[in-house]
Subunit: 351 residues, 2 copies
């Protein structure tokens, strides 16, 4: 069990971002291990009754149509008499969304945020076998705008051009070396966020990605979810909390995340077996290589609260392990060019 | 047709927000009237071929499985040989989302953003008849946390408490006076965003809501979509664009939007008839009552680019009219308490 205070210390120590950790102090006193694997919430009165903050003043039956009523979207109409309006009629003109532009590639699946023009999340799967096969070379790949995203919401190459930020892979190209075509697909901008290059994307973050690959030395199957965060920090002058992030492009279109998360699922290879979970949040800023990666470990729920996403909601508690309790969470720091060479030789940098 | 330059002037004139308008300068040269009602994009090679920025370097057939292949999510696997990995296997542990917590009430439908703990959008429908019926009194309603949203993503009453911001209705309570139960439902926090009170929510914004109601004097049916925006402005020191917004609550949980939009659909009452559309973006800041509402008119596409949402994508061009060309877009400014009294008397404030 990770103590919240550890997470706070870790996060406030991060890079140049003067990172604060209020989002990471869990609102409830629930421990991570006690986090229930709740089913998806429904509009049924059952879900309301189960909620600790169930509204006392309006009976659920009045709002949602009573215990026997199906959780239909229009069930509330029954309790307000004949409604003189039909708000859903607007959808005749088109549903507003948001649409997440799920893209399924050979080596990754991505979900896209049309407002920030960044991913919500990108998931990948690596194994000792997938990393051992080396048919792809990133020199043969090129960055690609994603034509599946409507033009007005699409991140463009020119948004990144001369922005000062790297086009930072969320699923690393190196994790899809098993096929040139699979690697090429990691170059879609829907797998990209603006990342600080020196000291982060090309350094500490790259070592972190290498750490994930090295987990396959112990685990036969590793799944990783990666994505951006936009975290607040406290203004020392007015003492209030503000989220502040740059937007790149002309007009400004692509958000520069303040942080990135990875939630790692290291599987023991048995069907229904144990899953060692590690969640990490790193600032989008130069990080000293001397800083232990465990400084950036956070409870999964901290990433959930900050991202609005849910991870492992269907994974039973008894199958969960804590990654950094089960294995050593430590980066192997190599010079970037050396690391690239090591990979070119066809073996993990750490081996 | 609204000129983009008008929209820019309007937005940069807004309140204390020193609003900038880069997001509103349309990226393409497409005129609003030429905006195609595109079908939802698919992963099929057809969709790619139709895109003006179709990727030339990788044939669509290599990425998505060829012209004859169905646009199935896994069709890409066919072209990369036997994939040694299965990224979708993660979803066995639960799908990350995002989930938009659509809530269907009698007088509104809302879509919720779990990350900002604000709505994405709230839609409503008003008619002369619905506004004429006055069974609800807002003194009988109270603000409600929404138990349909999972606790960790739910906006809480205590997040707003002493924040300095109003719990700002997106669909106004006054638009649901036709039933106390319907009005009560407008008080869910999923219909709320933090709004500046004096000079905005209780003043200019309230006059704007009144303007929407008065549209029913001319149009037999009016549909309105309302929601928050988080817009960048240029930093005069480094000349870069930043989005900056406060987060309220302890820990900071609920974003304070920089702006709010309304997209208004005024219908002529005929099936398949004309729809007069007006889109407006106002800063979340005090606004001088002397400022014309037309100063805040923007192209619909500007709201779409900024919000990541789409409005009226299925409404044929020939049915569209421009609201402020067809009717006079002007607020009637009344003292807030007078306006409340006028409503209490059972008639629109303007009549």
């Amino acid at each position: 069990m990770i103590k919240t205070s550890v997470a706070i210390a870790a996060l406030s120590a991060g890079g140049g971002a003067a990172l604060t950790a209020a989002l990471y102090s869990l609102r409830s006193k629930d421990k991570l291990a006690d986090m229930p694997a709740t089913p998806a919430p429904s509009l049924s009165s059952t879900a309301i009754a189960a909620s600790p903050t169930a509204v006392a003043t309006i009976p659920a039956s009045q709002i949602f149509g009573g215990p026997g009523a199906p959780p239909s979207p229009s069930s509330s109409l029954a309790t307000v008499g004949t409604a003189p309006v039909n708000p859903g009629g607007l959808f005749e003109y088109g549903f507003p969304g948001p649409v997440s532009d799920i893209a399924t590639r050979a080596a990754l699946i991505s979900s896209y945020d049309r407002r920030t023009r960044n991913p919500h999340w990108v998931v990948e799967h690596i194994t000792p076998e997938s990393l051992a096969k080396r048919d792809g070379d990133r020199k043969s790949s090129q960055f690609l705008e994603d034509p599946a995203v409507p033009a007005k919401f699409r991140a463009l190459l020119k948004d990144y051009y001369r922005s000062g930020y790297d086009r930072g892979h969320q699923v690393p190209a190196a994790d899809a070396k098993w096929s040139q075509a699979a690697m090429d697909e990691t170059f879609f901008l829907t797998n990209m966020s603006p990342q600080v290059g020196e000291g982060f994307n090309r350094d500490y973050w790259a070592h972190f990605e290498d750490f994930c690959r090295r987990l396959t030395l112990r685990y036969p199957s590793v799944r990783i979810v990666t994505g951006p965060l936009y975290l607040p920090k406290r203004d020392p002058v007015d003492n209030k909390w503000y989220v502040k992030y740059e937007m790149i492009g002309t007009p400004p279109s692509v958000a520069v995340p303040t942080h990135f998360y990875k939630v790692i699922f290291a599987e023991d290879g048995r069907a229904g077996g144990n899953v060692a979970i590690g969640a990490f949040v790193l600032p989008n800023a130069p990080i000293d290589n001397a800083k232990p990666i465990t400084d950036f470990e956070v409870p999964v729920e901290a990433v959930e609260r900050a991202s609005g996403l849910e991870f492992a909601s269907q994974l039973p508690m008894q199958r969960r392990r804590r990654l950094c309790a089960e294995t050593t969470c430590a980066l192997v720091i190599k010079d970037y060019s050396e690391r690239q060479k090591a990979f070119a030789k066809g073996r993990p940098a750490s081996s």
